[in-house]
């Protein structure tokens, strides 16, 4: 069964079957309903057959009997023969007798019935002797003519009237023609023969009724079976909806893509058309009625089923609501409002305060006007006063807006770190003035703090410089006298070793004071920087050349890799040399002897990058940022020469030149990277 679900032929077959079986179900249900209405299940069909005896054929026969009598009155022998043939014993089970008001028999069927199971009678009027009368008459005046016409039309059917001549005195001559006929009131007695011998309409009616009654229980079973079959087909079709051979999951065909409500309307259209057609021509007979009912039923099942199936497919795909015109319209409306909202939001965010305030004020006034109009308070006097009031009110509103704008500008300047942009206090009053004064006080405080900070920085650098000068003077003496002592022939040998220590340490002290000054200046930016186009591929070999001997003395092998793609950068060659000087000086001090040192330039990520790589002599159990801090060195023991300021100075100097300086440590691999944007 599951395999059949996606097959197209199975679906079509099921649909056709459903239509046919549905029609049959409707027919059997109709039959059961009729049987039940006439108590066929309780009295075995007697009342039904009785009511059917007075059916259509019986009524037709009654009026035919009147026609037959009219033919005899008219002396129409041909017609009479025709009717007598109809009512002959072989052709009809109907017997009639026509009597006048006094009970005198005027006419009977051409045979005498032995037994009558049913009879009824009804008064009727026989019309006979029809003829057209044309006459030309003179009338004294118009009124007389009208009265005559009324009289004739009261008795007969007027055919034609024409005024032939009108005289000066008002008398006229007219031609009038009308159909005249004689009538006679009769009573028609109709009887039905029992048993029904002739095979006429009544016979067949009774025959079908008997058949129906005899099948009355079977009909219920059949209806139940049909109902079950229809339900099964119905469920099958709903399950099959949205499935297609060779497609996993739910597949929506082109029908399923039509907006659902639109599809519903399209499906309802044929039904409405059919109903209109039937309504418009209600003169049809039973046969046409049945055809109509059948067609409508089949159509209803077909359309209803297609609607249900596409709904099932959409529901399975979970999108039936989205694919409706109503939903689309709602979404469009929603989008419009969201667009409107975001537009207003955007405008509110970006419009300057004055515009916002002005728009808000105008909007408020408009809203008030609308309310006033809605409340019906729009007498001319009131409106005039309202306008005057609001015109006066506008002045303080504008003043307040301007004051707020001023304060806002002051606040923005403060937030942007410009404490010198004070709020203009002129024309600010009351609370606004107080607020402006507060802002200005804050600005002054900020300015003071910034100044003090700058002062402190300057003072610190100055202090460091002065102290270093003061240290240098005694240091000079130490260096010189150590040198002098070394020239003396000093005994014992140990004293010479001590002198070497003094020599080394005084050199270190010298370096430390110099580095301290440089670090202080570099970090406060108190060093003049002149940026020029500098070729890193020229500078790096120069630096490597300067350090070649020292590196080799330290047991290191420099490896220079230059990328020709590196463009010129904007840098201060002297400062950049100091950066590389510091880096290479560190390399000499801290790189593992017997290893290689890699100096390379490359073009990476839109920047000119110079990197120094070496293997550390000591384990680098310290993070890169810590390494860059002043007075921190790769070795925590600080046993070797150097101030520990080299990396800090290198970083500060690189930043002064708008470059970037970074360190990375990977195990014992130490890497320093200096990068610059290309020169424009």
């Amino acid at each position: 069964m599951k395999k059949l679900l996606p097959k197209l032929w199975a679906k079509i077959t099921a649909l056709i079957l459903l239509v046919v079986l549905g029609a049959m179900l409707a027919a059997s249900a109709f039959g059961i309903a009729m049987l039940a209405t006439y108590h066929a299940y309780t009295d075995g069909g007697i009342s039904l057959s009785r009511s059917v005896q007075r059916g259509q054929t019986y009524d037709d026969d009654m009026s035919l009997a009147v026609s037959c009598y009219a033919a005899s009155l008219d002396g129409d022998s041909l017609g009479l023969a025709h009717y007598q043939n109809i009512f002959s014993a072989e052709n009809s089970n109907f017997f009639f007798r026509i009597t006048d008001g006094d009970g005198n028999v005027l006419m009977t069927s051409p045979y005498t019935a032995e037994d009558f199971s049913y009879h009824s009678f009804q008064p009727d009027t026989v019309t006979y002797n029809r003829r057209v009368v044309s006459e030309t008459k003179d009338f004294a005046d118009q009124a007389e003519y009208s009265a005559y016409l009324d009289e004739v039309s009261g008795k007969y059917a007027l055919e034609h009237t024409e005024i032939l001549r009108t005289n000066a005195d008002g008398s006229l001559t007219a031609a009038v023609s009308y159909t005249a006929s004689d009538t006679k009131d009769v009573v028609v007695n109709g009887y039905i023969r029992s048993p029904l011998v002739a095979k006429d309409g009544i016979y067949y009616e009774q025959h079908w009724v008997r058949l129906l009654v005899s099948f009355r229980y079977g009909l219920i079973a059949a209806a139940a079976a049909l109902l079950a079959a229809c339900i099964f087909l119905f469920v099958f079709l709903l399950c099959a909806a949205g499935r297609k051979e060779g497609v996993e999951g739910i597949h929506l065909n082109w029908v399923d893509r039509i907006p659902f409500d639109l599809y519903l309307a399209l499906a309802a259209l044929p039904c409405a058309l059919l109903a209109y057609l039937y309504e418009g021509n209600s003169g049809y007979g039973d046969a046409v009625f049945i055809v109509f009912v059948a067609a409508a039923l089949a159509l209803a099942i077909l359309l209803g089923m297609s609607v249900l199936m596409t709904f099932a497919a959409r529901a399975k795909a979970g999108s039936w609501w989205r694919n409706t015109v109503v939903c689309m319209v709602l979404v469009l409306i929603g989008k419009f409002f969201r667009w409107l909202g975001s537009g207003i939001g955007y405008a509110a965010k970006n419009l300057p305060l004055c515009w916002k305030g002005a728009l808000g004020w105008c909007g408020l006034c408009l809203l008030e006007l609308i309310f006033i109009a809605a409340c019906g308070g729009d007498t001319e006097r009131f409106v005039a006063w309202w306008f005057l009031g609001h015109a006066i009110l506008t002045v303080p509103v504008v003043l307040a807006l301007i004051a707020m704008r001023k304060l806002q500008k002051g606040g923005e300047a403060l937030a942007a770190g410009r404490p010198d942009a004070a709020v203009d206090l002129r024309r600010l009053h009351g609370e606004f003035r107080k607020h402006g004064e507060n802002l200005n006080n804050i600005a002054a405080g900020m300015q003071k703090a910034v100044d003090e900070q700058l002062q402190a920085e300057r003072f610190r650098t100055e202090l460091i410089t002065n102290v270093s000068h003061d240290i240098k003077t005694p240091l000079t003496s130490i260096v010189n006298y150590v040198d002098l002592m070394k020239k003396e022939d000093i005994q014992p040998e140990k004293a010479k070793e001590y002198l070497d220590v003094l020599d080394r340490q005084s050199a270190r002290l010298k370096k430390l004071t110099e580095d301290l000054v440089e670090a202080s200046k570099a970090s406060t930016g108190a060093i003049p920087v002149s940026l020029e186009r500098t070729d890193l591929n020229v500078l790096l070999p120069q630096v490597a050349g300067e350090y070649d001997d020292r590196l080799r003395t330290a047991g290191l092998e420099p490896v220079l890799t230059l990328s020709p793609a590196v463009p010129a950068v904007l840098a201060d060659g002297k400062l950049l040399w100091r950066v590389f000087d510091n880096l290479l000086s560190n390399v000499c001090k801290y790189a593992m002897p017997g290893t290689r040192v890699y100096l390379s330039s490359e073009w990476a990520g839109g920047r000119a990058v110079v990197s120094f790589k070496n293997i550390s002599k000591y384990p680098l159990n310290i993070s890169a940022p810590e390494l860059m801090e002043r007075f921190v060195r790769g070795d925590s023991s600080r046993s070797t020469e150097g101030s520990g300021l080299g990396l800090s100075i290198a970083q500060s100097l690189t930043q002064l030149q708008q470059g970037e300086f970074s360190l990375s440590i990977d195990g014992d691999l130490f890497k320093a990277v200096v990068s610059f944007p290309p020169a424009q």
């Binding site: 005084s506 020229v538 050349g545």
Partner: protein, 238 residues
Amino acid sequence: MDAEVRSMHTILVCDDEKDIVSALRIYLEAEGYRVVSAGNGAEALETAQRENVALILLDIMMPGMDGLTAMARLRQTSNVPVILLTAKSEDTDKILGLNVGADDYITKPFNPVEVLARVRSQLRRYLQLGGRETAPSLLTIGPVSLDDEAKRVTLDGAEVPLTPKEYDILRFLMQNPGKVFSPGEIYSAVWNEPPINIDNALAVHIRHIREKIEFSPAEPRYLKVVWGKGYKMEAEKP
């Protein structure tokens, strides 16, 4: 110039730090100069007028009259060479000192050998002023002279041992004083080869030359490095 000649020269050492004066006196007297001393600027001016001073080593930061003021006064009457000797090591200080009238500048703490070399150099220039013989084959910049005929380079008269390549590089630069050459240009001119993969070969040579002709190779006065551009031989006296 030998010791006998030098002994005639008197050098004024002016510093408020007695120990430094004593140390300098020891070094200078060991070289055969006569040394007189002063403790501040006023004293220095007085001594300079009294004595026949050939050169002054002058500290800047001193009590009373400082070094720069003293030098400005001195320059009104005398053109004796003055070497500033100071703890102030910033470029601006050096430039100021040289502009006011100093002939040279040494920062503290100084290397005694460098002080002696500079003293020697200034004296030579001062005493031989105007008596310079200029042979067309002789290129001279500061204390450095290059005799292209003898293929010899001297520093204050003392011969400097250079390798043939070092000599060629120095000659090329001295022939075009003040002009900056890129390493590639120098290489092409000296080696007569296109500069392909020269790496730091030239820079190493330059460094070696500087170590031979400069008093302080880390702060060259004559053979200068223009970082990121090239090298040049300074045209003017520093």
